[in-house]
């Protein structure tokens, strides 16, 4: 066990993967000598050389398109999109090719490409630097979409993503980048597709992922003090989705709130509400509710706290789960 930041955990995962497998290459904007604007790729060019970790021209479609070709020719590219909104220029390459070439070729061409996207708010960033864009990718068949909420998962899930055969969109909650936590890099790599119960509880279940997990845990902590016991499930893998873990947790409490930073309309949170309700309907004492970002463009820094799911908003929503059989 070592104490490290999420950036450190991600950096260790890249380094360890590069050591183990010479097919792993890392590229993107500023990932070379600078080590990425968040330093996730720090030291990789120095250690592995220009051919294994390198800067590209400033063009995201180019980055993803080139990664696809490199994967066709046997390599395992891990590319960085500098911020969430700057992945949009690559959207056609992601949606029309990265997600679909495996299917298009009946599995003859698999694309083991990892696209790392720092996402979400909470860092006082200006517009275009704080989007939560996971729904765009989760809605695109053929993409695996994961997001760690702990530093240990950051390490493990990134290792699993790089080791797999399919394209993975890897969302990194950037507001947690510099939080230190214990990380056991020797722990078993968590299989992609498994949610995890982060906290047991008996009254209601909070379902969250990525940057919403610490907020959900804080809410559960606060609820505890107020006499209510909330379970917290960390979804971790948005696609494939772990129905078994999530529905078991919801059935056990009969009440649930989905917490996510992204705007709520047609979102991953909508999906979770829909599938949990489908699968747990007769176990539910109240409709599954959502605490999400508002349906607005990400706000300027001084207003973002109003937009982001907060402990209070979660607890208010839990309060509305018809406790008195209303």
């Amino acid at each position: 066990m070592t104490k490290m930041t999420m950036v450190g955990a991600l950096n260790a995962a890249l380094r360890d993967a590069m050591v183990e497998d010479p097919r792993v290459v890392v590229f993107g904007e500023d990932v070379g000598p600078l080590g990425g604007v968040f330093r996730v790729t720090d030291g990789l060019t120095a250690e592995f050389g220009e051919d294994r970790c390198f800067d590209t021209p400033l063009a995201e479609s180019g980055i993803v398109g080139m990664a696809i070709g490199m994967a066709m020719n046997g390599m395992r590219p891990v590319v960085e999109m500098q911020f969430d909104a700057f992945a949009y220029p690559a959207f056609e390459q992601v949606a029309s090719h990265l997600a679909k070439i495996g299917n298009r070729t009946h599995g003859k061409v698999r694309l083991p490409v990892v696209v790392r996207i720092p996402y979400g708010g909470g860092i006082g960033g200006v517009e275009h630097h704080c989007d939560s864009s996971e729904a765009y990718y989760a809605h695109t068949p053929g993409l695996t979409v994961v997001t760690p909420a702990t530093n240990e998962d950051a390490y493990g899930l990134l290792r699993a993503a790089i080791a797999g055969s399919d394209p993975v969109i890897f969302f990194e909650p950037k507001k947690q980048y510099f939080t230190k936590e214990e990380v056991d890099v020797t722990a078993d790599v968590p299989p992609i597709g498994r949610a995890v119960v982060r906290r047991e509880g008996t009254d209601a279940t909070l379902i969250a992922y990525g940057p919403a997990v610490p907020v959900a845990l804080a809410a559960a902590e606060q609820a505890q003090r107020e006499g209510r016991s909330l379970a917290v499930v960390d979804v971790r893998s948005i696609v494939p989705f772990d129905d078994a873990t999530v529905t078991a947790a919801v059935r056990a409490t009969g009440r649930a709130v989905v917490v996510a930073e992204a705007q709520g309309f047609a979102s991953v949170a909508s999906e979770i509400v829909a599938r949990v309700t489908e699968q747990c309907f007769h176990h539910l004492a109240a409709p599954v509710r959502r605490v999400t970002g508002f349906d607005i463009p990400f706000p300027p820094p001084k207003l973002e706290r109003h937009h982001l799911p907060s402990v209070n908003r979660i607890l208010d929503t839990v309060d509305e789960l018809q406790w008195d059989e209303s």
């Binding site: 180019g62 398109g65 080139m66 061409v109 399919d166």
Partner: protein
Amino acid sequence: MSSSLESVLDTVRLIDPDGSPVPPDRYPSDRYAIPADADLVARYRSMVLGRRINDQASALTRQGRLAVYPSSHGQEACQVAAAAALRPGDWLFPTYRDTVAVMERGVDPVEILTWLKGDRHCAYDPLEHHVAPQTTPLATQLLHAVGVAHAGRLQGQDVVAMALCGDGATSEGDFHEALNFAAVFRAPVVFLVQNNKYAISVPLSRQTAAPSLAHKGVGYGVPAVLVDGNDVAALDAVLREAVAHAAAGGRPVLVEADTYRVQAHTNADDPTRYRTEAEVEEWRPRDPIARLRTYLRARGALDDAQEATITAEAEALAATVRDGVSHGPAPDPDDLFEHVFSAMTPQLRAQRDLLREELVAEGADR
């Protein structure tokens, strides 16, 4: 092989439209020499076969056997030369229009046409043939070619990628990013633009205000060559040189082939809405097959017997294609779910099972 290929923005032509050889002192560069007769006879054969497949496939759309067919009728010189210039391990990145190039690379034409028959998206194995799936989203495949070439360089392979696109596709951002990435990373890619003057209905004048598409090479530091796209001899010389240049120096080349789409964009298109028959007529005498035939016959390199053999081969091939496209098993509905991921997700398994149940019930109903 030198890697100091120069941009040639005067059209390279080695055989005139009337079939007579261009005197070498009129070549715009002394790098090029007319290919040997044997090579040209091979190209001739491939073009005749290609033309036959183009026309057969178009006929199959009229019979409803293919949903749609974007023909390269009239562009067979580009098709054949692009594939023939490649060495065994090299890669080809074709578009929807490049059936004949893919065929020339050794892929079975029935497999190639399967996507237009509606059975599956790409039936051949790209890795076996080093031929990417024929790509529809315009210019996107150019970046994949850069990736394959760059990965080749990093892994010490001696591999060149030949990336095809049309004049319209040069306007897409991905064209720009691909040329630029290739130049910056010194990726051995030959970009061949088949400038057939139209993007569906939109004429070249709406795609660019530059004197040629080859001029775009300048902005990337990529040598560019403009070639008569209906002169297979010139294409052959230019593309082989380009492949050699790319392989030797690990540097991209841009080739613009000046050609023409003499038929409709696809069978679904109505070109009378946007161009005159007179314009098309101007191009007919420049047909690549007739031109090469005149040249070879004049040199005595092609005789009636050879021609008869080739024609017979073409007919046999057409029959095989007609037959192959018209028959074959219906695709398996399980295919819908089988290949989305390398391991089927629980969600997809449930969806597959639902469909299976429905199909059983449907069968029971009948």
